[in-house]
């Protein structure tokens, strides 16, 4: 990571100031959200300014923790997010390696179909998807919450591009040593792709953790709610006007695991945002 040094050129300084300003602008709403989450709802009905001035309260957080279901919802979210992440990594890696390194009939056409799927919005397939899972009586199960998301076109694309960038000579040497294709994949290529795996894993986990729409229509029994659906269900009809502190506490609470994940894996997340996996 590069750091700002004294004596840098004027352009560097200007760039530093601009980036710092942008960071402040970006982080201000988050600080505001956290600040509001410690304010009583009655106070926020009148004004949402003055987050640094008392009174403060922990009630918004204790209200969340008082719900007997909240840890169940968190567990559901964890199972779904981890399940989706693991399965996505397996499928995207295998598919990506297949597209990058093997020749088979219709490979390019299939790859185009995968790419085309990137352009299909989730809402366009929600009805047939829901109907299909209803036919198999799978709603309100982990299978329904995990499976529709594991065919992740972006993941296949990312892994394909990554595998293509790895020098084929390493594999050719292994082939000469009569290693099987799967062995080459498992022993040589997969370890080399760890940065991309981590990037894709984090991306998938965050997406799964924050997912709202599909769990909303698939997990309709409170015991199967994920954290996003469960927390939203706690909102009153006038939450946006009379329960703002509670609403903000929900946002902070739901975001905490993601924040912790970010602290541990920020290098990979940054590289994912910057260009799809460090090499």
């Amino acid at each position: 990571m590069q750091t700002y040094r004294r004596g840098s050129s004027f352009t560097d300084r200007a760039l530093f100031i601009a980036v710092a300003l942008l960071a402040i602008i970006w982080i201000a709403p988050i600080i505001w959200v956290v600040g509001l989450s410690f304010k009583p709802n009655e106070v926020l009905m009148r004004t949402t300014g003055g987050i640094a001035a008392p009174p403060f309260t922990l009630k918004n957080y204790t209200d969340i923790l008082a719900s007997s279901s909240v840890f169940g919802w968190m567990l559901n979210s964890a199972i779904v997010a981890i399940g989706q992440t693991v399965l996505t990594l397996v499928i995207a890696s295998l598919a990506g390696y297949g597209f990058a390194r093997t020749n088979f009939l219709g490979r390019n056409a299939l790859f185009v179909i995968v790419l085309a799927a990137l352009a299909v919005p989730e809402q366009a397939i929600i009805v047939p998807l829901h109907t299909m899972f209803a036919m198999f009586d799978l709603h309100n199960t982990y299978v329904a919450l995990i499976v529709p998301r594991v065919a992740f076109p972006f993941g296949v694309l990312l892994m394909t591009q990554y595998f293509r960038a790895i020098s084929p000579e390493i594999e050719e040497a292994a082939l000469l040593d009569r290693a099987s294709r799967f062995k080459i994949f498992w022993r040589i290529v997969l370890p080399l792709s760890v940065p991309a795996q981590v990037t894709l894993g984090i991306y998938t986990f965050l997406h799964a953790w924050n997912d709202y729409f599909w769990p909303l229509v698939s997990a309709t029994r409170p015991e199967m709610y994920t954290l996003t659906i469960g927390l939203a269900s706690m909102q009153t009809n006038f939450a946006q006007t009379e329960g703002i502190g509670f609403l903000m506490a929900q946002a902070v609470f739901a975001g905490l695991p993601v924040l912790i994940l970010y602290l541990f894996f920020q290098r990979y997340i940054v590289s994912a945002v910057a260009g799809g996996g460090s090499k």
Binding site: S67, A134, T220, M234, N237
Partner: protein, 442 residues
């Protein structure tokens, strides 16, 4: 012999246990109860104290707690709480997936979309001991579609003007008894608004119009003034909407006149609107019946801008005859949600709710659905001004589907008038065009 002696006390204990715990042998009947209104376990986790329950969530949670604790039929009501916004999308998904709740809450404005999927309830009421003759006229109209009753009405909610009496006093707009002068015509209203602005420098009306969740606010005002004129957006049948009737244009023009002269707040969201009224930003807040107790509580605080007085009135009739937008919460039995085993339990729970309708009105902030409760209801603070709403309130027509779609579209066009300077005619044209798409899927 020794073995027999040893076993005898065990056998006696087992028999005694069975004898003294007959309830344990009786199976529990579970019914699912899909609703919004939020969850508030921290405040009302196991409370059965209805007298102290406040707010929709508080009363609803307490009612279910009370029923589960006191019913003698071993019925367990399991709430399935869903966020208000996507409630109907989820209900649709559940119906499609045959994961159907036993009882579900429904706005009567939505009922027209669901008649194929919910049970007709008139025959059920007799079985449950609920007397439909006690429905208020508004509640009856709300739950009746094509002459058949499809829901048990739970309340009436409507649209009011909430007054900052202090600002009205400063503007010289109080009558001899110290009550706000309520305008009777559009001109009178605009004159009052002008006077308010000149004397206090503040807008006459506060309204939230800036977000998708706020569009209903102005639409309810539009509907109320449209109904005052005897108008409808479907003057020639439900196949085609008409937003360019004189009545409709008049309604749009009221907002245009208010906006053009800065007599109405611009660009506020729901939170800003509520905070604005509580902070004395404007004189009148257009919002629902459910806010009365909040504003009364605020006005009781000495440092509140409402401390000089707060009152409320029915949405004013500026045209021919008093009418106002209303909607109702109601309870439906979705088809396929009950089984022979839990059907009786569902009816017992509905009857329990019916018997506690006043608790909902008192704590939840809505008008009761039962005519027999109106006298008692009118004794609650300021309710004498709103108690007649069920006699002249008008619900949205059931024969048109996607009523909430219409509501949002109208509200969006009025928001365009208020916030972006669109003219009333332009808004009516746009609404006309957009209504075609909304009706296409009827």
């Amino acid at each position: 012999m020794m073995l027999r002696r040893a076993l005898l006390p065990l056998a006696v204990t087992a028999l005694a246990t069975l004898w003294t715990t007959p309830a344990a042998a009786q199976p529990k009947t579970e019914i699912t109860f899909a609703r919004f209104f939020g969850a508030c376990e921290s405040d009302y986790g196991s409370s059965q104290d209805l007298a102290h329950a406040r707010g929709e969530c508080g009363v609803m949670t307490t009612l279910v707690n009370l029923f589960n604790a006191t019913n003698t039929d071993n019925i367990v009501v399991k709430p399935q709480i869903i966020e208000w916004g996507p409630y109907y999308q989820q209900l649709n998904a559940r119906i499609a997936a045959h994961d159907i709740p036993t009882i579900a809450v429904m706005h009567t404005a939505q009922l027209g979309d669901y008649t194929r999927y919910v049970e007709e309830l008139e025959p059920v009421f007799k079985e449950a001991g609920i007397d439909p003759a006690d429905f208020t006229p508004n509640a009856r109209a709300g739950v009746t579609v094509g002459g058949k009753i499809y829901a048990m009405p739970w309340d009436t909610h409507s649209w009011l003007w909430h007054f900052n009496v202090g600002l009205f006093k400063k503007a010289g707009l109080l009558d001899a008894t110290g009550q706000p002068l309520v305008p009777k015509t559009v001109d009178e209203m605009l004159a009052q608004a002008k006077q308010m602005k000149e004397k206090t420098g503040k807008p006459y009306i506060i309204i939230a119009t800036s977000g998708p969740g706020d569009f209903a606010n102005s639409a309810r005002g539009y509907y109320s003034w449209l109904y005052d004129q005897g108008g409808s957006i479907f003057p020639n049948g439900f196949e085609k909407a008409d937003f360019k009737t004189p009545e409709s244009l008049n309604s749009f023009r009221v907002f245009e006149a208010l906006a053009k002269n800065d007599y109405i707040t611009k660009g506020l969201d729901g939170s800003g609107g509520l905070g604005g009224f509580l902070n004395g930003v404007g004189a009148i807040y257009m919002t629902g019946t459910w806010r009365i107790d909040d504003f009364l509580a605020a006005s009781a605080k000495p440092d509140s801008p409402l401390a000089e007085g707060y009152t409320t009135r029915v949405f004013p009739n500026l045209f021919k005859s008093q009418a106002v937008w209303t909607d109702n919460h109601s309870w439906v039995l979705p088809k396929g949600g009950t089984t022979p085993a839990n059907r009786k339990a569902a009816l017992i729970f509905l009857k329990f709710m019916w018997d506690h309708n006043f608790d909902w009105a008192r704590g939840g902030g809505h008008l009761p659905a039962r005519q027999s409760l109106m006298t008692e209801y009118a004794k609650l603070p300021l309710r004498q001004y709103v108690v007649d709403i069920p006699t002249f309130g008008r619900a949205l027509p059931h024969d048109v589907r996607r009523q909430f779609g219409f509501q949002n579209m109208i509200g969006e066009e009025i928001a365009n008038i208020i916030n972006s300077g669109k003219t009333a005619d332009q808004a009516a044209d746009a609404a006309q065009e957009r209504s075609v798409a909304l009706l296409r899927g009827r």
